[in-house]
Subunit: 224 residues, 2 copies
Amino acid sequence: MPYVLSLSGGLDSCTLLGNLLRQCDANEILCVSFKYGSKHNQYENEAAQKIAKYYGVNFIEIDITPIMTCFKSDLLLSGGEIPEGHYQADNMKSTVVPCRNMIFASILAGIAESSGASTVALGVNCGDHAIYPDCRASFIYSMNKTTQEATDKKVKIIAPFLLDTKETIVHFGMKIRSPYHLTRTCYKNQEIACGKCGSCIERLEAFAQNNAVDPIEYEKEVVR
Amino acid sequence: MPYVLSLSGGLDSCTLLGNLLRQCDANEILCVSFKYGSKHNQYENEAAQKIAKYYGVNFIEIDITPIMTCFKSDLLLSGGEIPEGHYQADNMKSTVVPCRNMIFASILAGIAESSGASTVALGVNCGDHAIYPDCRASFIYSMNKTTQEATDKKVKIIAPFLLDTKETIVHFGMKIRSPYHLTRTCYKNQEIACGKCGSCIERLEAFAQNNAVDPIEYEKEVVR
């Protein structure tokens, strides 16, 4: 089992899974989704499960909601409304879940060591870094070093899209026929994507920049 | 709230709590215990709760047992027998829970950021490092850097006993009248300490080196 992959159900980790499968067999990847109490959690985990099934890879869901009872973020069910507007905007900062990626990566590293996997793969990319400190390249490099310390170099962390934009990822994903129709991006607590939150807007832009049509359904007519 | 302290119920974190209380008030410390499915978990969490009550500090218990279903370790209820003998011995390696400290520290950092605490305090010390990679100084330094990256320098990790031995910690703890009668160290799934596992042996040695009597009860007559 070379890889443990954090599969969120979004574009990035879906593309990463397709990319890893060009290098190894389906039974060599364990995909993990986290149940952590975000408003869109149910929908993204369902998406992750569908993507894992599509590719025939191992899949587990881990419930860490008891941890999150102490956390404050509008992304969580316990928080306020999901803001609308562009991702870069200051108001999207309220959706940061403190240290979420660090917590995910630590757990994935422990699962990797327990299951004999050498590598934790994350879909973190350049588009994430502005408001999420634990998505920046400097965090990932540091987290990789820390993970190697924690595991006596048995486990490392990779983030192959770290310096890529969402546009580039979608460009690459379309080439390898990523099943984007199965993915989920919207932050809101509703089945159909809203098309208005920062997460939806960024996704739609990435498809538009590729002169492509986003294959998922949106709540209202959106420019795509 | 300056401090979030990982309070295991053992000697080290009990001593650290007493030490922090020389620098700040009881309401400035949040103590966190983890329920993670180890054989001695129930007993050590009860001890932690008693210690927190003794000092009048805030206390929460966080359940992360769903994470541990994927982990292999004899320390866990799902694992084999707890080995007996000296801590340094190879057989105690089976009690390592992969990345446990890294997972704990990541969660504590998230709680710290959410509650406005600037510092996560860990009782990690020199006696731990031999078989636990994520208790070594090199790990703690790296984890501190990673945590600062993940929180935009809002949270740091300290481990004031990092270079101290268990003997030194007990020496210091006796000076500040740490309530060692409330602590729990034994790894076994039984209320009364066994006196034979690596954890008990190390504890007994630390008291003996200080010409002191360990105030807790042991299953059988032990040299102390």
